[in-house]
């Protein structure tokens, strides 16, 4: 009977997964411009949008610009989808972490359409977003994404997006 293989050391796993995420999100200038970060728990990502005065759309209320909210949702959907799409290749070593770190990124999915519902005005404080990949096919993907602030059960906005997936090179 063959011996069960030893599990990988946790720091190796973490380094690989974090490197993949950093390579994905760190390479997009608009993510840096808005100041969006991603928190990773296993393969689940949470987008974080720290509040800044120049994100305001309505100075009277004040409220976060609807365009910022839309961009935050779209970005969270795109990165979550890409991360899940890359996950297996990163885990099996088909994509080398060194290559990712060197900026050798695979092509990202392209947004086909994006529909956002504004549920509550965005308050001048941090916002969070999580996406659910409802379908990830060979060619098209459907993603639902939701953003909230103080209370997870009172979302500020939700969106539905369709993406065109890059062609796999195999």
């Amino acid at each position: 009977m063959s011996k069960r293989p030893q599990p990988e050391p946790v720091q190796v796993v973490k380094q690989r997964r974090d490197a993949a995420l950093t390579a994905l999100a760190g390479g997009v200038p608009y993510i840096q411009f808005l100041g969006i970060r991603f928190d990773r728990r296993g393969d689940e990502l949470t987008g974080i949008l720290p509040f800044r005065d120049d994100l305001i759309g309505n100075p009277m209320l004040p409220a976060i610009h609807g365009g910022v909210t839309a961009a935050f949702l779209e970005m969270t959907a795109l990165i979550s989808l890409s991360y899940l799409w890359l996950w297996e290749d990163v885990e099996t070593g088909r994509i080398e972490v060194d290559a990712l770190e060197a900026g050798d990124l695979p092509r990202l999915p392209k947004t086909v359409d994006f529909t956002v519902d504004y549920l509550r005005s965005g308050l001048p404080r941090d916002a969070y977003a999580r996406a659910r990949i409802t379908r990830s096919g060979r060619r098209y993907a459907s993603v639902q994404v939701e953003a909230w602030q103080d209370n997870r059960d009172r979302p500020m906005a939700q969106a539905m997006a369709h993406f065109l997936m890059p062609l796999r090179e195999d």
């Binding site: 608009y30 120049d54 305001i56 309505n58 610009h65 365009g67 961009a71 935050f72 956002v116 504004y118």
Partner: protein, 141 residues
């Protein structure tokens, strides 16, 4: 009076911090129509390999332009907010070119305003994106 409304609507847009951050400028406004331009900026890039502007920046432009069209409508609301916005992306905007959005507020009810918008780069015959949306109509009481 009309010029007054246009001035108020312009002031409204010019007072939006994030629209200023994105470098947006109104080039035409009035009667439920708005045209806003956003010059190319490397900070708004979504795909570093191609230099194409991220869809999110286009969304912000469309949203602002839709709101401006609502504010400039003859039944000018005191204020407005986006209820929903759907954007269809036809193609990536050509890197280096200014993106121009045009929005028309084609119908207003007591509480809701409806808009259509198009975003273009230098090639005006092939839109970069189109959008349709609903906005609230806040009437001062």
């Amino acid at each position: 009076m009309e010029a007054d409304k246009a001035r108020i609507a312009r002031q409204f847009i010019d007072s939006i911090p994030h629209s200023l951050t994105l470098g947006m400028a109104i080039t035409e406004l009035g009667d439920g129509f708005a045209r806003i331009e956003m010059p190319y900026d490397a900070r708004f890039v979504g795909d570093p390999q191609t230099g194409v502007i991220h869809g999110g920046a286009v969304s912000a432009l469309m949203d602002t332009c839709g709101g401006a069209a609502v504010m400039s409508h003859p039944e000018a609301p005191v204020s407005t907010a986006t209820i929903d916005l759907r954007i269809d992306y036809m193609r990536g905007a050509t890197p280096g070119q200014t993106i121009v959005a045009e929005a028309t507020c084609y119908h207003v009810t007591r509480a809701v305003a409806f808009i259509r918008a198009t975003a273009m780069d230098d090639d005006r015959d092939r839109p970069v994106a189109t959008a349709s949306g609903a906005f609230t109509v806040e009437r001062g009481t």
